[in-house]
Amino acid sequence: MSTTAVGKPMDRVDGRLKVTGAARYAAEHDYPNLAHAVLVTSTISKGTIAEVVTAAAVKARGVAAVVTHKNAPKMKVPEPFGGEKPSAGSTTAPVLNTDQVFWFGQPVAIVIAETLEQARHAAQLVRVTYQEQPANLTLDSAGKVTTPKKIMTEATTVEIGHAERALKAATLKVDAVYETPQFNHNAIELHATVAAWDGGKLTVHDTAQFVFGVQADLATRFGLKPADVRALAPLVGGGFGGKGVAWPSTYLAPLAAKVVGRPVKLVLARDQIYGCVGGRPPIRQRVAVAADKDGKLTALIQAGRSATGTTNQFVEQFTFPARHLYACPNIYLTQETIALDTCPPTFMRAPGECPGTFALESALDELSYQLKIDPVRLRQINEPDKDPTTGAPFSNRKYQEALALGAEKFGWNRRTPEPRSMADGRMLVGLGMATATYPVYRMPGSARVAVSADGTAVVQSGCHEMGMGTATAQTQIAADLLGLPVEKVRFELGDTNLPFAMVAGGSSQTISVAAAVSAAVAELKGVVLKLATAGPLEGLKPAAVAVRDGGLYRTDDPASGESFASILQRAGRKSAEAKAEVMPGAEMQKWSMHSYGAQFCEVRVDPDFGTVRVVRFVGAFDVGRVMNAKTARSQFLGGITMGLGMALLEETHRDGRTGRIVNADLAEYMVPVHADVPAIEAYWVGDPDPHTPMGAHGIGEIGITGVAAAVANAVYHATGRRVRRVPITPERLLAAPRDG
């Protein structure tokens, strides 16, 4: 395959739709006789519903129905996400089929009316009273503590050598506790579902990162065959993991539609998303690292507790980065969960690697000051020659190259090592860095490729676009595989009527789908060859021809061949197509496959007010071959920006008495705005991984990893104050003891 399109900074294929307002997202699909639904949600964290008074709401103008646990049709609760079958089950709570309340913000009633205003008004007239029980709301509460049997497919505890013993013996060491609060995704598109029944068939337009999971979930809940449920999400207005499983609103819209016998639109209000969709759980981690005087690590311990739900078993794998990053003879890693009576947590951009690198990379920075070794140098000294915990060879680790690239672009050598040693007027200046890392995940994928007599091609896979540039990158990939110009290729996605694709998660989509497209193109070769009953390809076996330049060409005589269009025209066919399903190979077992990067941050800190401004940020990444230089850069920028939010702004605050989230809006849950974000530079090594499709890695998540540590490390360098709890607010910074 010649890479004419792959790697180029091509404009997004859906760019015009998005800048003209023509792009349609889930809530923007209209049906005749569409009704509007509004949820009523619980105002306690745990207990039972004593009474729901709906009389006033039912009588209100325009109201079609009020659905509560008293009158809701029964739904079957599907398996939670992560089992054998594709499932998008977010929680096992039988929402609206129970009088039990499992968390604050759980839906307890649906009001359906002619207009949105009528539904919203009537929802305010529903009165719910409860029998409240004490709730477990914090990491220190009486919630059930569990050491998970496994975390995804990996062992929960990893022990190599004798880490505690080595730590005790060491003189140069750090042993500290790091905390990260709950975060919420806050995609700007509100979670929304439009549901329409046609007899026993259901169509939903959903804000989903996993349409086939939604299909399976709804089929189980409503007792349908999966083929009778069509889920569509060709465009999603940001997900970040928050739309990866089917949260209650996804099935309450079809439930409401069933009750009123007409199509229903349900859009969550912003504050309801905090109660109806899980966030990243709060985590407390101990990290202990020790080294000899030359900087070689002698002990590495990371252990801690993350919150999970009482109605799911989500485990944030924060010890994963430490399994693969640094050479160390004594490693101990383990984690446990505590079940809280809060909306069950879920995946949020780089689950595990994001909070894990905050703690680990902060601790390494602390160690660098003990050792008086430059933080970049410390990471060069501890480069492993094989995976430090599995012993597997690396597929294509280029961490040191990324580290060197980032340091050079950032100008790391201007940094003076002592804390508080750099200033700009009265402002303290700090330079900090941290390692970024994210695994290479690959999932099953399938695709259909069709070429037409008019010289165009259509490529389909039921995968997802929520900003990553999926359709654009896959168009480039398919164009190169077929040898067609990108203008002649159209990629379709986000629909269960298309070939199966997994969740857009784990940064796995690009290579999983690319492998399927590649296999489908290989299949297509045989299909088209059968139609070539005359001309230069007549009678040839598939092995004797190659797909190139929009057609098939003899491998023994590359000048001899024929275009798809010409073959099809002669055969009197409008088009020919082929489909392929591809499972991931055994490469993940054979190789240690990860992406790496180095994050560099410069801050200005006001010494009196403790306000931190990030003035420059550079990320350099080792992510295999990049499919589109323009959209890839945007993914890195976006990840880094969300990391800046984690470092300095973001935190979900809960009232410790009731469990109510007190900052459930975009003014008080502060995400980065324009004025918070400086010039950000993103670079990549670009060396293709020989063991992945297209030589590529996923890039959606690595950008956020290491960012919070790079900021915290820069803040320490500026101020001599170590903040081990994000976000680094002025009050936390000024309260931290000062070294130097």
């Binding site: 800048v19 207009t115 465009l235 207005g237 997900g239 990553m468 976006g638 975009l666 324009h674």
Partner: protein
């Protein structure tokens, strides 16, 4: 002219009063709303140069009127509280949060939405620059960012990158396209400044 002499302004005040009354009573403890809650009223809006007659409740926001009644879904709802800017439209050239504006309050004004910026197939320079600089990812905040940038340029206060950042801070992009948005806005601004010094 006193406000009460202006027929549009008078309609506006009556509309807002009716809408406010409905909202106020809705939040009150009375279980029985008054009979006139939710009574649609006629109003005329001018959207992208076209007059549109609507029969909607006075409490309907401009954003919901655009999206749910007129099916102009380019204007986005991200918070419904004036905090995210995804709903930004232009009224008489000024950028406003359409989620915080009652539709009746827009009567008599020229409302421009994202759908009204291109001239046929020819994109507005900001729309073209947003594509060129990849100034969006998921695209959901994009109509608001672009409308806000049109308003920003008309205001004429943003000279530096820092100015653009400050004056565009009412438009949140969770995908984090901010540096690319600044680049797109600055390119169009500087080009406009050259053409019309």
């Amino acid at each position: 002219m006193a406000p009460s002499d202006d027929p549009d302004r008078r309609d506006f005040i009556q509309g807002v009063t009716a809408g406010g009354l409905a909202l106020g009573l809705g939040a009150a403890t009375s279980a029985d709303p008054p009979a006139d809650v939710g009574q649609p009223i006629p109003m005329k809006l001018t959207i992208n140069g076209q007059d549109r007659e609507l029969q909607i409740e006075p409490r309907v926001t401009l954003l919901d009127a655009l999206r749910e009644v007129l099916h102009l879904t380019g204007s986005k709802k991200g918070c419904d509280h004036g905090q995210c800017g995804a709903c930004t439209v232009l009224i008489d050239g000024r950028r406003v949060n359409s989620c915080l504006t009652l539709a009746v309050a827009a009567a008599g004004g020229q409302v421009t939405t994202i759908e009204g910026l291109a001239k046929g197939e020819e994109l507005h320079p900001l729309q073209a620059a947003f594509i060129k600089h990849d100034a969006f990812q998921c695209g959901y905040c994009t109509p608001g960012q672009i409308c806000s940038a049109v308003g920003l340029m008309a205001e004429g206060h943003a000279k530096s990158d820092a100015d653009v950042r400050e004056l565009m801070s009412g438009n949140i992009c969770r995908c984090g396209a901010y540096p690319n948005i600044v680049a797109a806005v600055q390119e169009v601004q500087q080009l406009a400044a050259k053409e019309n010094p």
